[in-house]
């Protein structure tokens, strides 16, 4: 009935201001809904029209029963009943068929809108700048992607048809009462003020209570995951009792709120019962008076009473759906909020190959990161606006990388605390440079700046001669690849994970990429080979295997510039060695900047950049730097010293 309007949206956005992901305003949500409905206008009219017809036909039941009552009152023979009964049967069939057709169409309408909404949303989420996602935390995003989409889907699937039917029934029953006699309608409407007041009263209390309940349930779930997932640690440190106390505390809090919710719901229904009583007695009194005045027959009075009694269920259904409608509306505000984020500006669409700064020695389709001549004008996806159809280019050995130039780079996560101070250097095409420094020296930050994840506070980064911020995002994504410390194996068949890096890659290309990072043997030895389901809930891979997959993706994506910031530590020393070799092979034919966690990686690079407290301390080859007896030499002797 009262779907959440702009007020609720404002409340929500205030409550979630700190999450930084936007929540839409009322007008924005309405505009988004209009956009979704417009192409389906005919479907909507037909669907709701059929539901209306079904309800109208259904309302003939009560007068027909009233007619039978009148026949009995008039003392007609039993055979006279047959006519109205046959009509009753016809009404039943007509109503059922119309309802089935109407519900089918409404479902098609709702599901179609839902599908488009969620696709737009996921599109937009995947296009969000990483910086924004990192600031907001991925938890909020995941909650919106799963929780909110499910809530809306549930509403579309169950609440929407029920609500539509209930509302139509209520509306037409009132019309029916008026047709019997307008005074019946007036009598029935006496219940409305109580109902409206009840719904308002309930909505004011239910929304905040349910919000708190959801939080409490989330906290309970989180505590259980914490405690059970860490059971080994809990036992080792003998923390069992404090943890059980925490579980009990969280569980009790959730139980208390649930019980308060039930208390509220029962009071809600109590008030609705009062409304039912008022309406029913009013209709009966009206019947009494009208029959006395000879305005209506007893049958009509009975029909009116039956009408009103039949209103109990749809009324309760509609009013209790207010809950679902409100939470669905809240979810909708959150989804539309993200869907409406402007897609990244694509007005500037330089791609590095158009700048003449590159020393291209290889064939054009190898260096071209955006569109080779045969794929000029990337295919536009209808809604997302993201170019798809990654150019069909292989990264064969001998392919050519692009130059990286960094000048006067400055960056701070919090103003005043610079993580990088005036960093300048350049990396030649196809050169492999290692970035070295202690934890917190700014290596990862620098890597992210070059990959375009963060924007520098000042200074310039040029890739192949073109400033990073002038690269079209789609192009930038394929000019420079960042393999970060965060490993993720996408759930599903392993080959599909790899194809994310290059949609449509053939089996031979996949094999070649796996072979290049020394992963082919173990992949083929998996239970179902390339088709083995990996990732969440699938076959578990070792950390080293996961890193190899990440490198295989890099080979398939074949960007001219690759930045590796991997965690090789978890693989153990033997695994780390293997991964370093695989990384070296994956970098062949492109410019590589490697954040070196183990100094053996640095020793094998073409050149080394030593970062210290956000400044470039030294640049040079391994031999030069060791000979220079500076910072790198000190690090190296600490490293090599421990190595015997």
């Amino acid at each position: 009935m009262t779907a959440a309007g702009p007020d609720n949206g404002a409340d929500l956005s205030a409550a979630e201001a700190d999450t930084l992901l936007p929540t839409a305003t009322g007008p924005q949500v309405r505009a988004a809904l209009r956009d979704l409905i417009r192409p389906r206008r005919l479907l909507a009219i037909r669907g709701f029209g059929l539901l209306l017809a079904a309800t109208a036909v259904g309302l003939l039941t009560a007068p027909l029963l009233g007619r039978i009552v009148d026949l009995a009152v008039d003392g007609r023979p039993p055979g006279a009943v047959t006519g109205p009964v046959l009509l009753l049967a016809a009404v039943a069939v007509g109503q059922g068929v119309l309802l089935a057709l109407g519900l089918s169409l409404v479902a098609r309408l709702g599901e179609g809108m839902l599908a488009e909404l969620r696709e737009r949303f996921v599109d937009r989420v995947l296009a969000l700048p990483l910086e924004q996602v990192e600031r907001a935390g991925s938890g909020d995003l995941t909650a919106r992607v799963t929780g909110d989409v499910t809530v809306i889907a549930e509403a579309v699937r169950t609440a929407l048809p029920q609500l539509a039917r209930a509302l139509l029934t209520i509306l037409l029953t009132l019309v029916g009462l008026a047709v019997l006699d307008w005074r019946f309608l007036l009598a029935a409407l006496l219940a409305v003020p109580v109902q409206l007041h009840t719904v308002r009263w309930y909505g004011r209390r239910a929304l905040p209570l349910y919000a708190r309940q959801r939080v409490a349930l989330g906290a309970q779930q989180q505590q259980l995951l914490d405690t059970i997932g860490g059971a080994g640690t809990v036992r080792a440190f003998r923390l069992t009792e404090p943890h059980l106390a925490r579980v009990a505390e969280r569980s009790t809090a959730a139980v208390d709120l649930t019980l308060r919710g039930i208390g509220l719901v029962t009071r809600f229904y109590g008030r609705l019962n009062l409304a039912e009583f008022i309406g029913l007695s009013a209709v009966l009194v009206a019947g009494f008076l009208l029959v006395r005045a000879d305005a209506v027959s007893v049958g009509t009075a009975a029909a009116a009473a039956l009408y009103f009694h039949n209103l109990f269920n749809p009324l309760n259904a509609a009013l209790s759906l207010v809950d679902d409608a409100q939470s669905a509306a809240a979810s909708l505000f959150r989804l539309v909020g993200v869907s409406r984020l402007a897609s990244p500006a694509r007005s500037v669409t330089h791609s590095p190959d158009s700048a003449q700064a590159i020393g291209t020695s290889g064939p054009a389709q190898v260096t071209d990161p955006a569109g080779t001549p045969d794929t000029v004008g990337p295919v536009e996806v209808p809604d997302g606006g993201n170019p798809v159809g990654v150019p069909d280019r292989v990264g064969p050995p001998g392919a050519t990388g692009l130059q990286i130039e960094v000048k006067g780079l400055r960056y701070a996560y919090t103003p005043g605390h610079d993580v990088l101070h005036d960093v300048s250097f350049s990396v030649a095409p196809n050169e492999r440079v290692a970035l070295v420094g202690t934890s917190g020296a700014g290596k990862t930050t620098l890597a992210k700046l070059i990959a375009g994840v963060h924007q520098p506070d000042s200074g310039v980064i040029r890739l192949g001669g073109v400033p990073v911020d002038e690269l079209d995002t789609g192009v930038a994504g394929r000019t420079v690849a960042l393999i970060s410390q965060e490993v993720h194996v996408f759930a599903g068949p392993l080959v599909e994970d790899l194809r994310l890096a290059r949609p449509g890659a053939g089996e031979d290309q996949i094999h070649a990429a796996l072979d290049r990072v020394d992963a082919l043997d173990w992949v083929l030895a998996l239970p179902d080979g390339l088709a083995t389901v990996v990732g969440d809930g699938g076959h578990r891979l070792t950390p080293a295997q996961e890193q190899q997959l990440a490198l295989a993706r890099l080979v398939l994506a074949a960007p001219p510039i690759a930045i590796l910031d991997e965690a090789t530590a978890e693989a153990g020393s033997v695994g780390a060695r293997l991964l370093e070799t695989a990384a070296t092979r994956a970098l062949r034919g492109r410019t590589g900047l490697v954040v070196a966690h183990r100094l053996t990686q640095a020793a094998e690079a073409d050149r080394i950049i030593v970062l210290d407290a956000g400044r470039v301390a030294e640049i040079g080859t391994h031999h030069d730097l060791v000979a220079a007896q500076g910072r790198y030499a000190a690090l190296w002797s600490a490293w090599a010293g421990t190595r015997g």
């Binding site: 259904g58 026949l71 039993p78 006279a80 009943v81 109205p84 009753l88 049967a89 039943a92 109503q95 059922g96 119309l98 519900l103 599901e111 599908a115 989420v125 995947l126 296009a127 990483l130 995003l141 799963t146 989409v149 699937r157 059970i228 640690t233 036992r235 923390l239 069992t240 404090p242 943890h243 059980l244 569980s251 139980v255 019980l259 019962n273 009494f288 049958g299 039956l306 996806v381 798809v388 202690t438 789609g474 994504g477 690849a481 960042l482 393999i483 970060s484 996408f490 994310l500 290059r502 949609p503 969440d536 993706r553 994506a557 965690a567 530590a569 978890e570 020393s573 690090l635 421990t642």
Partner: protein, 564 residues
């Protein structure tokens, strides 16, 4: 826990009898409510007969008053019946939740072996709720039966043939509904699979967003999601169409049922067998009875689900412990002499070694599985298949696992931190408040704290996932050191820490643990450099034993394991 392993039946009956008072109260009140609801159509009929048809204003007022009393009674019955039913359900679920958590955390372990943590958490939440719901279903079922009884009696009083028609017809109608519903269940489970796949895919893609962005693969991912979403759409539209026809056919059947009641009732009324009001009451009751009847089938479904959930809970509560026997206390004070005699377990093929009280012993196990097997035996998470481990000359198998862990702390490599501040995490495990500061210093946590917004008071989210691997390891190490147990076993505590910091930490550990037995299971040369002695485990046996520099110089196998 009572005698005999818990079964689905004992879990269920326990949940019900534990809340017996609330269940009985709720059942009685629900019965009153449903009985009252059944009388409403009867009352409407009476009002039509006695007042609207041929009574006076006094009759009208009298009967409206009766309706008012009825409404007040049934509304009150519903209000308090629903509340105590819900209380019974929630409290039973709460008890089960605590029971499951207690069993999982039991010192003797064994509950996690068959389930992943996520599955266990869901047993403690969803399954516990389901079992609790049985209480609510029991009360609601009682109410529904009362409604059926009252409504049925009222109908039979009006007219036996009419009553029989309704009492036979209504269950038939519901049976038809279930029959029609069965193929629907199949369709909707396909639909749910598709929807779950699309939703899971979206969550997975968001979880891997950094990887996708890093490769510029976000558009490909969006395409993949769109495809999944379209498949899901097709499945849901098919299922929705089936559901729509199901609803439609059901409506036809209900309408025909009402027509049949109208036919018989109308004939009886025209023949004067029943009054007009009774005809109205019969039609009203025919529709009303569908409610309690469908409640009965809902209750059935809840019972079935409750039984299945109770069985899952029973498997957790009744999981055999990983270690049995042994309830002694370790000697007090613990000297910290640890000895393994020909220990065989998993990949351990007869390990014999000895750590003197106060010794800092390095253990190099190039095969991570071997290291894991050894650690599990030392923590008495399992008892070795053969051989013996002694603490101060007493076999571990004779000691109570909980007491034992007060003497030997095996700090796992997969450091699980818990919700709370960084400092809370360390303090929770500390032997004394004074132990915290030195432990933080030894693990070099100061540098970690500097990088955090609120220093050591920064709250950690999601088991410390908000920290980087290196930060997490240092906090976990500080926690282990603060516990100050007589024997401490550390497993690869510094793999994600840079070389310079690692060397500092190694010195800190050595200083702090002086005089207490410490085992360092690691291949890191920085840590091994501070040990008194190192043993090399290869192929499940001790292959070398000596000082770190000597082994480095003389043993090629050791050099390979440690230096590459």
């Amino acid at each position: 826990m009572r005698t005999g392993p818990p079964t689905a039946r004992t879990v269920l009956t326990g949940a019900v009898t534990g809340q017996a008072r609330h269940v009985v109260t709720s059942a009685a009140l629900n019965a009153a409510h449903q009985g009252g609801e059944a009388l409403i159509p009867v009352l409407i009929g009476v009002v039509i007969d006695r007042a609207v048809g041929q009574g006076g204003p006094v009759d009208l007022l009298l009967w409206i008053g009766v309706v008012a009393v009825m409404f007040a009674a049934l509304s009150t019955g519903f209000r308090y019946g629903a509340r105590s039913g819900e209380r019974a359900a929630e409290q039973a679920a709460h008890q089960l939740r605590i029971g499951v958590a207690r069993r999982v955390l039991d010192d003797r372990g064994g509950a996690e072996h068959r389930h992943l943590p996520g599955a266990l958490a869901s047993i403690a939440t969803s399954d516990a709720e389901r079992v609790g719901m049985v209480n609510l279903a029991l009360a609601a079922g009682t109410g529904a039966l009362a409604g059926l009884l009252v409504g049925g009696t009222a109908l039979l009083v009006v007219s036996i043939p009419l009553g029989l028609l309704v009492l036979v017809g209504a269950p038939l109608l519901l049976w038809l509904a279930q029959l029609l519903g069965r193929p629907l269940e199949h369709r909707s489970s396909t639909e749910q699979e598709h929807a779950a796949y699309a939703s899971g895919l979206a969550a997975d893609l968001v979880a891997g967003l950094r990887v996708l962005k890093g490769l510029g693969a976000a558009p490909a991912a969006a395409d993949r999601y769109r495809l999944a979403s379209r498949h899901s759409l097709a499945a849901t539209v098919r299922a929705a169409r089936a559901r729509a026809w199901h609803d439609g056919i059901l409506l036809v059947a209900t309408g025909l049922f009402v027509a049949a009641v109208g036919l018989l009732g109308g004939r009886l009324a025209t023949q004067g067998e029943i009054s007009v009001g009774q005809l109205v009451a019969a039609v009203g009751l025919a529709l009303f009875l569908l409610g309690p009847l469908s409640t009965v089938s809902w209750v059935n479904a809840e019972f079935a689900q409750g039984r299945a959930s109770a069985a899952r809970i029973a498997t957790v509560l009744g999981a055999p412990p990983a270690t049995t026997g042994g309830a002694d206390h370790p000697a007090d004070p613990v000297r910290g002499q640890l000895a393994l005699y020909d220990v065989r377990h998993g990949t351990l093929r007869g390990v014999s070694l000895h750590a003197a009280p106060g010794e800092l012993l390095g253990i190099v196990a190039p095969d991570p599985v071997t290291a894991a097997d050894l650690l599990r035996c030392l923590a008495r998470e399992v008892d070795p298949e053969a051989g013996r481990i002694d603490l101060d000359g007493v076999p571990l198998a004779t000691l109570d696992p909980g007491r034992l862990r007060a003497a030997i702390l095996v700090a796992p490599h997969e450091a699980d931190l818990f919700e709370g501040s960084l400092l809370d995490n360390v303090t929770a495990a500390a032997s004394a408040p004074a132990a915290v500061a030195p432990a933080l210093a030894a693990a070099d946590v100061a540098e970690v704290a500097r990088a955090l917004p609120d220093g050591v008071r920064t709250r950690l989210a999601e088991r410390g996932r908000s920290l980087s691997g290196g930060q997490r390891q240092r906090v976990a190490l500080a926690r282990a050191l603060a516990a100050g147990t007589p024997v401490l076993v550390l497993h690869d505590p510094t793999t994600a820490v840079d070389a310079a910091t690692e060397a500092r930490i190694a010195d800190g550990v050595r200083r702090l643990r002086r005089g207490s037995t410490t085992l360092l299971v690691t291949t890191s040369p920085a840590l091994l450099a501070v040990t008194d002695r190192v043993v090399l485990l290869e192929a499940g046996v001790v292959r070398a034993d000596g000082r770190h520099p000597d082994l480095l110089r003389d043993d090629t196998g050791y050099r390979t394991a440690v230096l590459t």
